[in-house]
Point group: C5
Chain length 84, copies 5
């Protein structure tokens, strides 16, 4: 799993049907890498969360048929990114 | 999932049969990394999209037997890559 | 598999139910990359461990339904990270 | 999928049986990263190809039991790597 | 698949049971990245090998239940890492 910070919800103009109804969030790692994850937890912008990848991501989204490879698993309390 | 920008459609001189009939697009991340994805959404060059990887990519392409590990899931409205 | 050092246990304020009861640990690679893994082994902060990813991670956690993509597989005796 | 250039065929002195009879090729990305892929397409050194990873790689090799995580999917016509 | 050089066998003080009886080896890529793989081939320190990842890694280890995401597939004859 990875530790990422929620940045904003994506607005989609065209999308596949089997993405379901959960919001898609843009997130960044402490080094600035960019990801998109499904959010079944209800995060707010700025929250530090951990994300679950690949086959477990689909189960984490609540339905094995959902089209996701990354899903928010929980909000981390008091995470401080390291200074580098 | 990842956020990538569509660059161009690939022209193939020799290819496996089970790739099906969807176009293959070359895409780049905001840091310049290069990827290839199947496109069931009908993107245009320059669109910012999010892509779905691995087993969900095959379902996203519409047929579990298709040979893909990365598929376009939707077009993002008004995405601005960050200045670094 | 990867070689990572255990940093600390995560405290979660909101989380999915199917994460089970094993602790989630933050770990770093010798180059400083950050990961989260389930810990069925009982590691202590500072231990160097190896981690198992993806489908094998779920079996390693002891239950295929657990929501993990990275699980601690064992503690490495006397690991010295390389100077670079 | 990724875009890679075929460099050379690997010569193996000891190998697992279930690798089958397809050649294994060493390939590099435009940034110099090194990979090995099974080649069911019949590429020549210098060809730019796209490769398919993970479970789809096994189907792409023509037999689900083959031990591969990366398989050549096709040869790209007229690919020009970007100057950086 | 990847090309890696075998560095040393890991000594584990505590480990999961379903790791089986094959040795776990630490390996490095030509750029210095560190990995751990199961070794069913019988490599020696210094050998250049290719490794197989994810679901194929478990089959490569000889038993689908083994907890591995990376397994040595064969020894490469006369591999010369590139000067950079």
């Amino acid at each position: 799993m990875q530790i990422l910070q929620v940045k904003k919800q994506l607005v989609l103009t065209s999308r596949l049907e089997d993405l379901g109804h959960l919001p898609l969030k843009a997130l960044r790692s402490e080094t600035g890498e960019l990801f998109v994850a499904m959010d079944p937890v209800g995060t707010k912008d700025g929250d530090w969360v951990f994300t679950i990848a690949n086959s477990a991501a689909r189960d984490a989204a609540g339905d094995k048929r959902l089209l996701t490879d990354l899903t928010v698993g929980g909000i981390i309390d008091g995470w401080q990114p390291e200074q580098k």
